[in-house]
Amino acid sequence: MALRIAAIVALGLSAAWTTGAMAQETVKVGLILPYSGPFADAAKQLEAGVTLYIQKHGDEVAGKKIELIRKDTGGPNADVARRLAQELVVRDQVDILAGFALTPEAVGVAEIATEAKKLTVLMNAATSSIIDLSPYMVRTSVTIPQVNYALGKWAVEEAGVKQAYTLVSDYGPGHDAESSFAKGFTEAGGTILGADRTPVANPDFSAYVQRVKDSNPEAVYIFVPGGAQPAAIGKALADRGLSPPDTKIFAQGELTHPEALESMGETARGVITTFHYTLERDDPLNKEFVDGYHAANNGRSPDLFSIGGYDGMHLIYEALKKTNGDASGDALIEAAKGMSWDSPRGPMSIDPETRDVVQTVYIREVQEVDGKLQNVVIHEIPEVKDPLHGAAK
């Protein structure tokens, strides 16, 4: 008997919550990010992008008030991210799940997104395949193959490089970068002379760089995580005489983001990188974004996390406008498919088939501008899709 009463009470409680959710005039967005631990800075930058968008466009859209609920995963914890998503759905009654700086966070949440039918916005997580894990997922950041495949093709077709050597950090993103650069490079007719992998936390690259030098390549492709590594590899390459213009250095954009450029100093000159967002790109939308970001964050510059969060919020706002405030997952994901807009990063859209991001990939070279080294866009490749979805030509 007591059991039955308890069950009725529980049922009544949940029913009360459900009706409460229907009557609400707010749209709740659950933001799942690694706020504590080694990736806390990424979470901070991403959230700054999100809040800047809300600050600029108001917290009301289609007659509904946007409410953020923040949850901390503490790092690449798939199980914690999953539980947080479950709690956001059953306890906080959120309408939209967003954030995800790290791939495992998105992996953990995929099943919940599908079962609860919630729009799930990947604002960073960059492993290509995760978008396939749930039909309610949409990505507003970048995928590693997207930018590196494009760079590989460009290196052969536009820069005339015939053979190259790859040197990447020995972990997931490094492997993805290595294979997608090689794919683009060889498909365009180039030859990979050799591929080496370095430990993730590697302070000294000289032995690896010597091996690269022995095979005398026209170009080296490198991929290392941020922090102390860009400076270390820059120095090792310069010491061995592997530097532009004699040998071309290719990399993904993080290698020469503003803080890394400072630590690399002169060794960064002439490095060619590929990325979806360039802080210094001359564009009125970008200028407005960067100025607003500086003002709101004590002069700190936005990075890839910030722009992912900013555009993710844009997608949520525009989707809600299209559905007239209907926040159900099915309505929102339909609204998101095929959406296109002008972002501070340049024109971008959501592929209606894969729900993945389609955008301009920028090839940049580190050059001196007004006495300061910075990334200068030397080539733009419009409407690049993720090559692993068979969309590449």
Partner: protein, 331 residues
């Protein structure tokens, strides 16, 4: 120990052990209380199930750390082995039956525990911490480099756990996962209770208090330690497999140093050398984390740190130790 007690032990040791280990009313009430989330806090069931899993892991560590005195900072190794075994079974071989996955996870961890126990019994004190820490880090790096098997930094995808007994589906609210985790925790607790209340458990405490004296009274302490280490590894492995099955995900984080360290913090909070200390510690740590991180997602660790210092300073035997001193139930 009074004169009466001593004579009771001499007359019938078995009866003395039994008399010390009767179920008390507190214990029965405690286990009834664990059912409360199912009826009163349905929105917290997913947290409750994670607490139950962590409590089972904490129990396994308490067996070696609290009872046998093996200070370990690498027990996540066994947790992770169990978690990856269950995950790989489902993701790579398509076998998602939960009970068998749980047992296999426990067996793989037990095997690893048995093999490493030969190393563990050779060292003590600081060297012991270093060896357990080193083994934990090695396992982490091994899993990282076996990307084809473990998914590397991205973690394993495509795990799907079948219905329990072909009937109970894992639901979004977490009714099934909590009931399942709680049942496994209770079974694990019964095993631990059996271990610590047996003569074998007494021998372990003897080793903890004075390892030199044990050979003198004819006790093969190395064999005892190997046995308890293997049992503990098996339970940790089962806890890991449970996490995989209730969340359908595994990442390298299950093997991380953080997990090994957190569980020691839980034991210190709850009180080492008491089975309920392990459970209470896990409850306090995770509930505090959930509530504090809800208030401020960036700095919740600060409060855990302050709580830990307060407990160590004012209740050196942990929260449960402090409580039992308060109500004068010395043991």
């Amino acid at each position: 120990m009074t004169h009466n007690q001593t004579s009771a032990i001499v007359e019938s040791p078995a009866r003395w052990i039994r008399s010390r280990n009767r179920w008390t009313i507190f214990e029965i009430l405690f286990w009834i209380a664990t059912l409360a989330p199912l009826y009163f806090f349905p929105a917290y069931l997913n947290l409750a199930s994670q607490v139950a899993i962590t409590a089972l892991f904490a129990l396994s560590v308490d067996l070696v750390l609290g009872y046998a005195g093996i200070i370990t900072l690498g027990h996540a190794m066994f947790f992770g082995l169990g978690a990856f075994t269950a995950g790989i079974l489902s993701s790579r071989y398509g076998w998602g039956e939960p009970i068998s996955g749980l047992l296999l996870g426990g067996m793989v961890a037990a095997l690893a525990g048995y093999v490493t126990s030969f190393l563990i019994v050779r060292v003590q004190h600081l060297a012991l911490i270093m060896v357990t820490l080193g083994l934990g880090l090695l396992t982490f790096e091994l899993a990282n480099s076996l990307r084809w098997l473990t998914g590397g930094t991205d973690g394993l995808t495509g795990i799907s756990t079948w219905k329990i007994f072909g009937y109970f589906r894992f639901d979004l609210w977490g009714y099934t996962s909590y009931a399942y985790s709680l049942a496994v925790l209770f079974l694990g607790f019964l095993i631990c209770r059996l271990v610590v209340s047996s003569s074998f458990g007494l021998a372990l405490r003897g080793i903890r208090e004075n390892v030199q004296r044990m050979p003198a009274i004819g006790s093969d302490y190395k064999w005892h330690l190997r046995k308890v280490y293997t049992i503990s590894a098996a339970i940790a492995g089962i806890a890991g497999a449970l996490l995989t099955q209730t969340t359908n995900t595994v990442t390298l984080e299950v093997l991380s140093f953080q997990r090994s360290a957190d569980v020691v913090v839980m034991l210190i909070l709850g009180g080492t050398g008491r089975l309920y200390g392990a459970i209470i510690g896990a409850v306090i740590f995770l509930v505090a984390k959930d509530q504090l991180a809800g208030i401020n997602p960036q700095y919740w660790f600060l409060w855990i740190g302050i709580l830990l210092m307060a407990v160590v300073l004012f209740m050196p035997k942990g929260i449960l130790g402090g409580l039992s001193r308060l109500i004068r139930r010395e043991d």
